[in-house]
């Protein structure tokens, strides 16, 4: 461990440039599957937040379960296509963004339950639409930020 390379080894700058090119290729590979990804993810979030509006509690729980299943299938499809999993500590900005989106969704879900308990079922449509938009924009931005972090080798 710890002696510098001999004179005939590639120079350090060339090695670092090569690693930067690899990081570019990785970022290009970890691209979100295609345009369907964001709307489907957003639809799953909207379904989850809309579930409390259903007056029949068994059906409401079933919708929450369906939304959970959709999230799991989307994550599985993403892994299948990219072949990689994310290390959260390595991509702080995109993780913070994803955490903010998750917190907003949790807030919207709580709001939906409150509205449904108050008998304002029709207003849950607004929180559901908000969940759709927040997830659509948030997941798109988090994905872009994550790829930028991968390009920097983080």
């Amino acid at each position: 461990m710890s002696h510098p390379p001999s004179d005939d080894s590639p120079d350090a700058s060339a090695i670092l440039d090569g690693l930067a090119a690899d990081a570019e290729r990785l970022a290009d590979r970890v691209v979100t599957p295609s345009l369907w990804f964001y709307p489907v993810l957003a639809a799953a979030a909207a379904l989850m937040v809309a579930a409390p509006a259903v007056e029949e509690s068994g059906f409401s729980v079933m919708l929450l379960g369906l939304a959970g299943l959709a999230f799991a299938l989307i994550a599985q499809e993403h892994h299948k296509r990219t072949g990689v999993t994310v290390r959260f500590g390595a991509a702080p900005k995109s993780v913070v963004l994803a955490a903010v989106v998750s917190a907003v969704l949790a807030g919207l879900l709580v709001t939906s339950f409150s509205l449904a308990n108050a008998g304002l079922h029709s207003r849950v449509f607004a929180t559901s639409m908000a969940a759709f938009l927040v997830t659509l924009v948030g997941s798109f931005l988090a994905d872009r930020v994550h790829r930028a972090e991968l390009r920097r080798g983080r």
Binding site: P4, G18, T82, G83, V86, F88, A90
Partner: protein, 104 residues
Amino acid sequence: MGVEAAFDDAIHAPTRLRLCAMLRPLGSADFGALAATLEVSDANLSKTIRNLAEIGYVSVAKHSSPERGDARRVTSVSLTPRGRAALDGHLAALRELARTAEAN
């Protein structure tokens, strides 16, 4: 807090260094994804992973995959904390060398 520069012979070989750097921002990567992204042969990558696993720089897990029609399992590779520390030190050493060469 800065990383202490430490040139590491065990990680300096091109495929080893590229593999570790590729794994640095990831939780894990499947063998196929690594071979495709690094553009190296399966045999070369397999040998490199085995060597790095022997010195504790990467860990290997095999899992079944519903996508596979046969009984073979998917190999996924991740950088260990030891490997990450070695890579960070080695990259810091390379940056120092590059700065020195640029200054001369």
